[in-house]
Amino acid sequence: MNDRAEVIRSRARRLAEVLDGETRAFYPRLRAVSLVSRLVPLRVANGLRASILRQAGFHIGEGTLICGTPNFSCGEKEVSTHGRLVANLSIGEGCLIEVGCTFELDARITIGDRVTIGHQVIILTATHELGPRTHRAGPIIRTPVNIESGVWIGARSLILPGITLGEGSVVAPGSVVNKDVAPHARVGGIPAKQLEVLEP
């Protein structure tokens, strides 16, 4: 009898573990808000879309236009409450975010004022330590991304974890940014290299 109770308990524990793993990154409130915001056709009512996303709890400044609902992802266990997830994204005033962007919210993404983000830009916050040859992608590291005011990120650029884009910098389309960008620099290429320094 005792054995049977033990088996049931262990199965229940296993089930709870599985359910936790399977649903941790679900965030019902964010899903619901994203779904509503996806009902608005692309490039239509961009201010309204920003207001809808504000209902999820994201900080989005006044006058920011979001042309298509971005994809939000987060698999971080410590961020498993909605409040902590939405605290990880803050967008300033007068920004413009184009269609099809992806924000990984495992760590904080701070976007300043008057930032312009092109189509299908991906901003990542989680990566791995280099592991042994049997499993190269080792433990996960999470580092915040900071995009300062006035920045212009071209379409299809990829911003890797831990990057700071300095004030007034420009990222050419299709670049992969793996190093911090100095203020007022224009960078481009894979990996992104400084092309010129712009007048402030």
Binding site: R43, R114, T116, G150, R156, G168, V170, P173
Partner: protein, 205 residues
């Protein structure tokens, strides 16, 4: 980006177009941002209808409906998946596609200006045609005034998967663009473009 004028030019044009102080908000550095988009009431229901159709399925039907919606798509050309059309006003009227073109799954056409695909053009997966960019502005907001420019893809060109065609670009006849290339400048005819390398295909018949 290559066509962006010097920042000082942008500052003077922004100052000339400065709105009255009352409508100016603290975050508007050079006037309110131009809000992209609008709604094309004729095209929207067709977009909503065709979006759930699985890719590579009922492509002839998809193209027939798109032609009925006013898209200038030649009879022998085909969209293998429903592309994303973005734009303002008469979206369908801005795109012209010639004979025997094939457009693969997941493409994005930003129809703020004209996009013309001549005959026998092949377009790979997730190719993006962009017709809207900005002038380089001052440091407070680098993306300045909106610039729109048309795209032309000439006869027989082949665009590889995930390449991005920037505004104002003309891809010459018989040119081949490698996968994942961002095309910012005009491509001469019969050229293979892979990143920064240009290889002539003139001898390749």
């Amino acid at each position: 980006m290559s066509r962006a004028p010097s920042p000082s030019d942008a500052t003077t044009t922004a100052a000339a177009k400065e709105p009255p102080a009352a409508s100016r908000r603290p975050f508007d550095v050079h006037g309110p941002r131009e809000n992209p988009g609008g709604i094309d009431l004729r095209f929207l229901p067709i977009d909503l209808l065709l979006r759930p159709l699985p890719a590579l399925t009922a492509s002839a039907l998809r193209c027939r409906i798109l032609r009925a919606a006013g898209l200038r798509l030649a009879k022998s050309s085909i969209f293998w998946g429903m592309p994303t059309f973005l734009g303002t006003g008469d979206v369908a009227g801005q795109l012209t596609i010639g004979e025997v073109c094939g457009i693969n799954v997941g493409c994005v056409f930003e129809l703020e200006d004209r996009i013309t695909l001549h005959d026998h053009v092949s377009v790979g997966h997730n190719v993006m045609f962009l017709t809207r960019t900005y002038e380089m502005g001052p440091g407070a907001q680098r993306a300045g005034a909106v610039v729109r420019a048309p795209i032309v893809i000439e006869e027989g060109a082949w665009l590889g998967a995930r390449c991005t065609i920037m505004p104002g670009v003309t891809v010459g006849a018989g040119a081949v663009i490698g996968a994942s290339v961002v095309v910012t400048q005009n491509v001469p005819a019969n050229t293979l473009l892979t990143g920064s390398n240009k290889i002539s295909l003139a001898k390749w018949r």
